[in-house]
């Protein structure tokens, strides 16, 4: 039974992946891409990698899907929805196919997995979830730089604004019919999402979850509240939002420096305070990730008043 399920899942992943890249129309491709992400998330869950499944569903299918839909919406309003040139298709297909083939060969040629054994060091990390231990302790420097990558992407997106629009609110104007479906969901869902997001961050220390997954759920809460008109998108000049954007990376860097000053070295977390320190960093990171992702989706300052 489970073998049949897995085979069906693999066939679906391949089929939907193929449907994403062949055929015409940006909107079609985006919808297939979102489906593809959700199927991949199920695949990860089948492999027992629940943390990866959660990240895949939240960030790849959910957030990236929302970003792509927003981009497609902009292309449509600008009436510039162009197809990629036909002459680029064959080389792109051949290049993709050859990379797939050599990676497929590597699958058979690779020796047995050689991942380092974390069971010895995990008790010294302060948390029980090995993924969180890697992200926030063993390889915290990667995670710190990744949180800065998100911030850089947002500053880059803002650089695409028109100069005249700079002081306007971010993103397009949203209109929700009072007492319509969106307005009602905009009141009901955010409190539930808020609890779920905070739970994911809190539980991430010892169980499935973490700052990136929780932050993505919180970003969805912010977006929903903005689309329902319950929360006004800020302008770049809004100081609280800007502080919120840098809070996570700032707390992370300062915690790292504190490790160098008070403990054994940069980014060192002594076991006695490792868990509260990781939770503090994750809480700040989640806030910044939520703010950054939400603002990435709504886009640069825009005074045109385009309807979403």
């Amino acid at each position: 039974m489970s073998a049949a399920l897995d085979i069906a899942l693999c066939a679906l992943i391949l089929g939907v992946g193929l449907a994403t890249v062949v055929g015409r129309g940006v909107f079609r491709a985006v919808i297939f891409f979102i489906t593809y992400g959700l199927l991949l998330a199920i695949g990860w869950a089948r492999l027992g990698a629940i943390d990866v499944a959660l990240a895949e569903a939240a960030i790849s299918a959910g957030l990236t899907g929302a970003l792509l839909l927003a981009a497609q919406g902009r292309l449509r309003t600008m009436k510039t929805e162009a197809e990629p040139p036909a002459r680029a298709r064959l080389p792109a297909a051949l290049a993709g196919l050859s990379v797939a083939c050599v990676l497929g060969w590597a699958w058979f040629a690779l020796p047995v997995d050689q991942a380092p054994d974390l069971s010895q060091v995990l008790p010294e990390s302060g948390v029980g979830n090995p993924v969180t231990a890697v992200l926030l302790n063993f390889r915290a420097w990667d995670t710190l730089l990744e949180s800065v990558v998100l911030l850089t992407a947002l500053v880059g997106v803002w650089m695409l604004a028109q100069d005249a629009d700079w002081d306007a609110a971010l993103g397009p104007r949203f209109h929700a019919r009072p007492n319509g479906v969106l307005a009602n969901f905009g009141r009901i869902l955010p409190p539930i999402g808020l609890i779920f997001g905070v739970y994911l961050v809190w539980a991430g220390a010892d169980d499935t979850g973490g700052a990136f997954q929780g932050g993505t759920v919180l970003a969805a809460v912010i977006l929903l509240a903005m689309m329902a008109g319950a929360l006004q998108p800020p302008s770049v000049a809004h100081p609280v939002w800007r502080v919120g954007l840098v809070l996570g990376p700032l707390v992370f860097v300062l915690a790292g420096i504190a490790g160098a000053l008070l403990s054994d070295g940069f980014l060192t977390l002594p076991l006695t305070i490792a868990k509260p320190a990781i939770l503090t960093i994750e809480a700040a990171l989640s806030l910044s990730i939520a703010a950054t992702l939400a603002l990435l989706v709504i886009g640069p300052p825009d005074d045109q008043g385009q309807d979403a």
Partner: protein, 489 residues
């Protein structure tokens, strides 16, 4: 340890400050952050010079569990060169903004983007972990793409998008190679990988990583994104993009081939890398020769100048004992990275001054401009000397070291590339020089403050000084140098 932590965290903290602080405090925060990071870079270099390579195990975890960083001679030489170019770009941007009054968007974005790029470059220079290097590369690419598009013009945004597509393809290929390496060996640290037991997939992993890094370094034939991207950015950003950004992926290539997996080198792969480098020298030079705009000439010159570095792959170590200097080709290539960085940044900053003076960088509009802006004209000539590889510049030292290795190893074909590339550089730089120093009298150029003009002059003088006092940088580069650099691949 302390100076390394300062080098890594100061530009990050300054970048966060420029985002969070109110409008009037941003430029000041960027200036303070730049000055502090410059001091930190010099501090690290002094410590490494005195006591040898410096290790930093992040979080107290040893690889393969944690990430190890090391500042060796090459890291700190790149760190100091980067700090000098960055500081010059920050100064030039401030002077340019004082003259032209940028829009509020650029006034906000340029400081965090420059500082984030700086933080990412420093992180890459000292990292010994292949995945950490990937994260650093992503940060570099994203901030660089935003700097390409920052002017807001349609062609700048288009050039930025094309750059983004190339950079992301490169990232994915590199990441695929990293994943293969990790699943085969369970480690990502360069020193641990050097002692690994080779497996059949190693060649594929190295090939994927190399292909990705070549796309990011803009080596021929992956160079097509570079000239429009570098020419479309504002001059201080162009200086960073051309002088520094390709050097990060180039450094990772050098570390992969000379430090992590030197056993994978084959005669064919070295010939391919050197051959692509030679083609880049010729093709970049020829295209630079036919451009009508100064910034495009300077940008195509970057394609050619990066090509020289790849000659080190086939040349390194050739005929060991017959060489007058050990590791001459490797050291020469690193000299080329340093002197090209200083000279190219200087050249783009002079282009920015010419644009501020006459509002154009078309060669026809620059005629006689050296008479009105003698300091800037002189700076351009000095950096041209370095790019042509004439004595006594750093570019000359670089080519001299590679040339002697080529003759010692009796590989005269590569020597011909070095000579031919120098002649091409002389030809494509002659055209802007002839325009600048012509006897025509320019039509009333706008005055440019002398302290702004002094910025590229300093950089050009440093590029020449690298050749005049080449013993000190030569010795610095030998600190922690891999043995393979002397023995050859």
């Amino acid at each position: 340890m302390t100076p390394m932590i300062a080098l890594l965290t100061l530009p990050l903290l300054a970048a966060l400050a420029t985002i969070a602080l109110p409008r009037r405090a941003r430029a000041a925060a960027a200036g303070i952050g730049a000055g502090a990071t410059l001091l930190a870079a010099i501090w690290v270099a002094v410590v490494v010079w005195r006591t040898g390579p410096m290790d930093l195990m992040l979080g107290g975890w040893q690889p393969p569990v944690g990430i190890g960083l090391r500042a060796d001679g090459l890291s700190v030489a790149l760190g100091v060169m980067t700090a000098l170019v960055m500081s010059a770009a920050v100064l030039a941007a401030r002077f340019e903004h004082a003259t032209t009054g940028p829009g509020p968007r650029i006034a906000f974005g340029i400081w965090p983007l420059i500082l984030l790029l700086w933080a990412a470059l420093n992180a890459v220079f000292v990292s010994r972990d292949l995945f950490n290097l990937y994260v650093g590369l992503e940060l570099i690419s994203l901030s660089a793409v935003a700097l390409v598009a920052i002017s807001g013009k349609a062609q700048a945004v288009a050039a930025g998008l094309r750059y983004l597509l190339f950079a992301l393809t490169g990232s994915l290929l590199y990441l695929a190679g990293v994943v293969l390496t990790y699943s085969a060996h369970g480690m990502l640290d360069i020193d641990l990988l050097a002692a690994r037991t080779p497996v059949p997939t190693d060649a594929l992993a190295l090939g994927l990583m190399t292909a990705g890094l070549l796309a990011k370094t803009a080596l021929f034939p992956f160079h097509v994104w570079l000239p429009p991207a570098h020419a479309a950015a504002p001059a201080p950003a162009s200086a960073l993009l051309s002088a520094l950004v390709p050097k990060a992926s180039l450094l990772i290539l050098v570390r992969l081939w000379f430090e992590a997996m030197p056993d994978m080198a084959t005669a064919a792969s070295l010939l391919t890398l050197g051959g692509l480098g030679a083609l880049a020298v010729v093709w970049g030079g020829v295209l630079a020769l036919v451009q009508a705009r100064l910034k495009l000439i300077v940008a195509y010159s970057t394609v050619a100048q990066l090509g020289y570095v790849f000659l080190a792959f086939p040349l390194a170590g050739g005929a060991g004992a017959a060489q007058p200097w050990s590791a001459g080709a490797w050291t020469g290539a690193m000299f080329q990275i340093l002197s090209h960085g200083l000279a190219k940044a200087s050249m783009f900053l002079t282009a920015g001054i010419f644009i501020a003076a006459v509002g154009s960088d078309r060669l026809g509009d620059l005629r006689g401009l050296a008479r009105a802006l003698p300091m800037t004209g002189f700076a351009f000539a000095l950096s041209a000397i370095t790019l042509m590889g004439l004595p006594p510049s750093g570019g000359f030292t670089a080519k001299y070291l590679m040339m002697t290795s080529a003759f010692a190893a009796d590989q005269r074909g590569w020597a011909a590339v070095l000579v031919g590339g120098g002649l091409l550089a002389a030809a494509y730089l002659y055209r802007p020089m002839a325009a600048l120093f012509s006897a025509d009298i320019p039509a009333a150029p706008r005055a440019v403050p002398r302290r702004w003009q002094a910025v590229p002059l300093w950089l050009a003088a440093l590029a020449v000084g690298l050749g005049l006092m080449s013993a000190a940088p030569f010795d610095l580069l030998q600190i922690g140098r891999p043995d393979i650099a002397a023995e050859g691949l």
